[in-house]
């Protein structure tokens, strides 16, 4: 059992957990993820590690309520436990001094981009960050990201905060105004990552995305997380999760992520009706950002 040392909502439906996991904390590198299982009947889901403290033996995860498991997880509190947490999995982000780097974080994707941004900043890169969300509440980690960015821009779909529009609108402007962007890292909903890739492809700017497909074991054993990259099958768990955005077949990724949509819907509905039936309020079960897998 992995003990939850802290849990707080940082936005509606988005919770940050501090979890005791000494082995994982010690080995974590930016860009890696864990797989967790809540209880004996639970499914295994991958979640990117937001930060880790090797000395204290803790990791933090930022979780958005999207499906049954993430709703159930986000109902847990300090002092509760998670049955299984395994990691750190996947290849770490490639960190070196590129020059000017643009970070694009969409919704909860910002939390996943955060550790890599910190590492890139530390490596001496100039960091330009674009954070996007559907509305003001879903722009997360703004202060943390600002602290490691040379400039930070916010866009919201509804214009409730920052510039009204999509992250790609701001990115297009940056690509025009900034002369020498060496790397773009985009983490967020699949359609957002695809749009970023389409934009930078024209300019030939190296772009990296972090993929979060359906996954079970996370060690390469099942092959469920296979994605088409450069026309070849790659396993997101061992070959990724980060890939060259211009090589990723996003259509196949989206299509495969829809495989269990009916079952996922049913699972969530039954969970929520049980919660209501039990007299407990489904805690903070509010907003979703479209497209982000739990």
């Amino acid at each position: 059992m992995f003990k939850i040392l802290g849990a707080e909502f940082i936005a509606p439906g988005i919770k940050r957990f501090l979890i005791e996991a000494p082995r994982i904390a010690r080995k974590h590198q930016a860009g890696q993820f864990v797989i967790l299982r809540l209880d004996e009947h639970g499914e295994r889901i991958p979640l990117t590690i937001e930060s880790a403290n090797g000395k204290r033996g803790t990791i933090s995860l930022v979780v958005q309520s999207v499906g049954k498991t993430t709703y159930q997880l986000n109902a847990l509190k300090e002092g509760d436990g998670i049955l299984d947490v395994v990691g750190p999995l996947g290849k770490p982000s490639k960190i070196e001094k590129f020059g000017t780097v643009v970070i694009v974080g969409g919704g909860v994707g910002t939390a996943l981009a955060y550790p890599t941004t910190v590492a890139l900043k530390r490596a001496g890169n100039r960091i330009l960050t674009i954070l996007g969300g559907r509305n003001r509440d879903l722009v997360i980690l703004e202060e943390e990201m600002r602290a490691v960015s040379d400039a930070l821009y916010v866009t919201t779909d509804d214009g409730s905060y920052g510039q009204k529009g999509l992250v790609t609108d701001r990115l297009r402007e940056l690509l025009a105004s900034e002369g020498d962007i060496r790397l773009v890292l985009a983490v967020g909903p699949v359609p957002m990552m695809k749009a970023v890739a389409d934009l930078t492809r024209e300019k030939g700017i190296h772009t990296v995305v972090s993929l979060n497909p359906i996954m079970i074991d996370g060690t390469g054993m099942c092959g469920g997380c296979r994605v088409l990259v450069g026309g070849k099958s790659q396993f997101a768990c061992v070959d990724g999760p980060e890939f060259d955005a211009h090589e990723v077949n996003f259509e196949v990724l989206m299509q495969r992520n829809r495989t269990y949509r009916e079952q996922e819907k049913r699972s969530l509905e039954e969970y929520q009706s049980r919660q209501r039936g039990g007299g407990e309020s489904a805690e903070e079960s509010t907003c979703l950002v479209g497209g982000v897998k739990p």
Partner: protein
């Protein structure tokens, strides 16, 4: 045939023994079992076991034992059954095999002990697997205590992977007095035994009981540790104080066919399909959270002819598949699956499409599988594996309508440990190089065995490697010599 020289409790003459027919394994009716996941084979009663044991010729040169990868003393344990000492028989098996309830169920006996049985030449071979299972289950029911371990040596051994190779080594090493710690990447102990082999062939309860016995013997287990990621081999030595490490991580990554359409929804690797069902209980969705496609009324095919392929397609049948096919590119003779599994599969209405090979998975236009385009094959000259090579018959293309396809054509080496352990040599396929007898690798104190060395094989071959590794590790720990 060698004459009986040793004293025997068997009242029958050799001629009489050969007249006793092989005792049939009681099994669930095919019509019923396709609707459940409970075990197909029900196990011998005491009477059936006695009757079967009487058939043993008690050969002076027991080839059955020579052919056993872990060296189970077949003749001796069968004699104890004849004498009515079932616990003694179980203890005799345990001297060489820490997982008798498991091997008694899943070992391809026809390739080992039963294939070597002298009876096999005249009539049907002795039901050694059935007898092994009988004594293991009997021991479990009676709650027999384990033989005591040797005095503690103060040496610590890390075992990476809790599948058959790892468990087999762990059992032998703990008995020698070493402290044994098994790391498992998944949340359950057992490796392929829990994620790969379905309940109807190897009940989880049986695995749990065998694992519990190992815990009683003093073996420690730690789940959720991916060695190579969560901790490196070097750290096990330098920071955690282990004196030897045995790598038994299994076969690894599923191989796909590299044909168009493999990314369609509805195309699975056998590992994923079986993991969802076995490890994650997806067939009990939504009681369990892991989802699975609804197979009721669907047409499902597995590609491949091994035990994994049959496990997958028989599972699909139980999950409601209306049509269930095995698509295999050679003929039934070349199929690597256990004979009993092929028999059971046929009883369950699985259709065998042999000498058939898929060349493309077909899209329904919305990203879901709608069928497979296949070609017919014929057999040519034997290839490197000794099996006759399948050759495409020109112009033989045809389509099979399918909603789900499961690819069970093999695995390739998982690189996680190799890539994080400097100086650990691998072969050109990425498997770890280890001496075939000592299981020693290129790194001092590091041993490897099972599928991560040989590529995908069987439970019993992995257990054999585990035993050899245990022996070799014990020698290394005792002498310090590499």
């Amino acid at each position: 045939m060698s004459p009986v020289k040793e004293p025997s409790a068997n009242p029958l003459t050799l001629k009489e023994r050969m007249k006793v027919p092989r005792q049939q394994m009681p099994e669930q009716l095919a019509e019923l079992r396709v609707m459940n996941f409970t075990e197909v084979n029900l196990g011998y009663s005491t009477e059936l076991a006695r009757q079967e044991a009487l058939r043993c010729l008690e050969c002076a040169k027991a080839t059955c034992m020579e052919q056993c990868p872990v060296g189970v003393k077949v003749k001796e344990f069968v004699k104890l059954i004849v004498a009515g000492d079932y616990l003694g028989a179980a203890a005799k098996v345990r001297e060489d095999n820490v997982l008798p309830a498991i091997t008694g169920r899943v070992c391809p006996q026809e390739d080992h002990c039963e294939g070597a049985c002298l009876l096999h030449k005249k009539v049907e071979s002795l039901g050694i697997g059935y007898l092994e299972r009988f004594v293991a289950d009997y021991e479990q029911r009676m709650g027999a205590s384990m033989a005591p371990n040797a005095p503690a040596t103060g040496k610590k051994v890390a075992i990476v992977g809790s599948g058959p190779a790892g468990l087999s080594a762990a059992g032998d090493l703990v008995q020698k007095g070493h402290k044994v710690h098994v790391f498992e990447a998944l949340h359950e102990i057992g490796g392929v035994l829990v994620y790969g082999i379905p309940e109807f062939r190897l009940p989880k309860q049986v695995i749990r009981e065998q694992i519990d016995k190992m815990r009683e013997m003093g073996v420690e287990f730690e789940t959720n540790v991916v060695v190579g990621k969560t901790v490196a081999i070097d750290e096990l030595f330098e920071e955690e104080g282990y004196h030897a490490v045995f790598i038994a991580t299994g076969a690894g990554l599923p191989v796909f066919l590299n044909i168009p359409g493999e990314h369609l929804n509805g195309v699975y690797s056998a590992n994923e399909f079986l993991t969802r069902i076995n490890l994650m209980h997806a067939y009990e969705f939504p009681t369990y959270d892991e989802p699975m496609l609804d197979l009721h009324g669907k047409h499902v095919a597995v590609i491949g002819g091994g035990n994994t392929a049959l496990d997958a397609i028989r599972s699909a049948r139980r999950l409601g598949a209306e049509k269930a096919y095995v698509i295999y590119r050679r003929s039934e003779t070349e199929m690597p699956a256990r004979i009993e599994e092929v028999k059971h599969a046929k009883q369950e209405g699985i259709e065998f499409r042999v000498l058939t090979n898929p060349v493309e998975f077909l899209d329904d236009g919305k990203g879901w599988l709608k069928g497979a385009r296949c070609v017919q094959m014929e057999l040519g000259e034997p290839d490197a594996s000794g099996r006759r090579r399948p050759i495409v018959i020109e112009g033989s293309e045809f389509e099979i309508p399918l909603q789900v396809a499961v690819i069970a054509t093999g695995t390739s080496a998982n690189p996680l440990i190799q890539s994080t352990t400097p100086g650990l040599k691998t072969n050109k396929w990425g498997y770890i190089e280890a001496n075939g007898e000592s299981q020693r690798t290129s790194r001092k104190g590091v041993f490897a065995g099972g599928d991560i060395v040989t590529g995908a094989a069987t439970v019993i071959l992995a257990m054999g490697a585990g035993r050899r590794a245990a022996k070799s590790i014990h020698e290394f720990l005792s002498t310090g010599e590499w």
